[in-house]
């Protein structure tokens, strides 16, 4: 697989098929955590961290355990198992080895266990029949796209907190409208480089 193809996978995951704004996955955290820039940066760093590692491990599990035993139908159960165990393991590891990173990630690390984007990336990398390197590029791209979208959205929401908004639009209504407009803007990337 050439470097250009890998870049294509990464770029497609980052912008053209952005996990939040085009595929509409992981929307709960998109609206829940984007109230402040600091929160969204914490969440996205945790997502990048967990998504990359969990997709690597689930790729290995699928190709070296489930396929040889012809147990492909078990992938949902086993991937959830992998992600839950992995997040726990990472939490234990970080608490001991890198306490500062653990404290800055705080509540977001355990929250990720239920983030559907993590599971989706593990599934999609297999559906697309990616090689290991390609699935790594894909998961890094998806998590970078997640960070891009949620941090941009947090910036807009911080500005909106100061804007004169009619009372019936305050809070989630205006956030939904904004997310829809951002999603429309991201549609503009469709067809870029023929991806």
């Amino acid at each position: 697989m050439s470097g250009l193809e890998l870049f294509g996978i990464f770029f497609s995951a980052l912008l053209i098929n952005n996990i939040l704004l085009i595929r509409f996955l992981a929307l709960c955290s998109f609206f829940g955590v984007s109230t402040g820039i600091e929160n969204s940066i914490g969440m996205s760093s945790a997502v990048i961290f967990v998504m990359t590692i969990s997709s690597a491990i689930s790729w290995g599990l699928y190709n070296f355990v489930l396929v040889p035993f012809q147990l492909e139908f078990l992938r949902t159960a086993s991937f959830i198992l992998v992600i839950a165990a992995l997040v726990q393991l990472e939490e234990i590891y970080l608490k001991k080895m890198i306490p500062n990173l653990y404290r800055s990630m705080g509540i977001y690390l355990p929250l990720i266990t239920t983030n559907c984007a993590i599971l989706a990336v593990a599934f999609l990398a297999i559906d697309y029949r990616y090689s290991f390197i390609a699935s790594m590029a894909y998961s890094v791209g998806v998590s970078a796209g997640y960070s891009l979208a949620i941090i941009l959205f947090a910036y807009i929401r911080e500005r909106m907190a100061l804007a004169p908004i009619p009372k019936w639009f305050q809070g989630y209504p205006i956030a939904f409208v904004t997310a829809a407009l951002m999603s429309l803007a991201f549609l503009g990337f469709t067809g870029m480089f023929g991806l």
Partner: protein, 262 residues
């Protein structure tokens, strides 16, 4: 049937391996935390305001155990928390001087003299950068309520363009003190209720031009109650360590009525 069996075995093995891994990891990477930290955290208010100088309540707890902070360090908790903490730490009980925020400006919307109309961003920080927001006095309250926005305890409200501290809610966390771009708000002891409601360091004549209620540094208060009041740098100041002195003579004699009691 065979598929079912392999499925059960593989999934069961996976669960077992992960469980064993987690059990091993939690033992290998166990963090020994002082059990007192959890107990201190229960006593502390948990506002994470940072008024003590530590980065949140957890940091304060670990610094208290390390001996870097006093049990009286939590201003939000006050005497009550200090008592409990000193019992827990086995230290002698110390009295806390309860503090409260004081606004050292008395010029409300009607009394303010404006040189220009300010039409920019409605925050004190922004207005202060642009020629003092059109206000004649370079020391006075701008009235856009930056202090109100940062107060984590909802203890400040704006009345007629001037912040008013809710004496019951204020915990002296000091957020408003740093938020005010003009440094008008400071902390005073809760029981010493006298405040100089002016921060102007202009000369008396200049202050009189700029504000009807400014301190003109006439020194009458210092003559009336010399134990407490002193004038320096064109501004009267209160020595808050002198408790129990009757200040009513100075309050009554102040010609611009900028010494207030609340």
């Amino acid at each position: 049937m065979e598929t079912l069996l392999t499925a059960v075995i593989v999934l069961g093995l996976m669960g077992f391996v992960f469980a064993a891994l987690l059990a091993l990891a939690s033992d290998y990477f166990r963090v020994e935390e002082d059990p007192r930290i959890a107990e201190i955290m229960k006593i502390l208010p948990g506002a994470n305001c940072g008024a003590c100088g530590a980065a949140g309540c957890h940091d304060f707890a670990s610094k208290l155990i390390a001996g870097e902070k006093e049990s009286t360090g939590c201003t939000v908790g006050g005497q009550d928390v200090a008592c409990k903490l000193s019992v827990l730490m086995g230290q002698a009980n110390q009295t806390v001087i309860k503090k409260i925020a004081a606004v050292r400006c008395g010029a409300n919307e009607n009394r303010r003299i404006k040189k220009a109309k300010y039409d920019g961003v409605k925050t004190c920080a922004a207005a202060n950068l642009i020629s003092g927001g059109g206000l004649a006095c370079l020391y006075g309250c701008l009235g856009y309520g930056d202090c109100l926005c940062v107060c984590p305890f909802d203890a400040i409200k704006m009345e007629n363009g001037l912040p008013v501290i809710d004496l019951k809610k204020c915990t002296a966390c000091g957020k408003c003190v740093t938020a005010c771009p003009r440094g008008i708000i400071s902390l005073r002891p809760h029981d010493f209720k006298v405040v100089i409601a002016c921060s102007s360091r202009d000369t008396g004549a200049q202050t009189r031009k700029n504000c009807p209620v400014g301190c003109i540094a006439c020194g009458i208060c210092a003559k009336a109650v010399p134990e407490v009041f002193a004038v320096s740098d064109n501004l009267a100041a209160i020595d808050y360590s002198k408790t129990g002195v009757d200040c009513s003579a100075a309050i009554q004699k102040c010609p611009t009525k900028c010494i207030v009691e609340n």
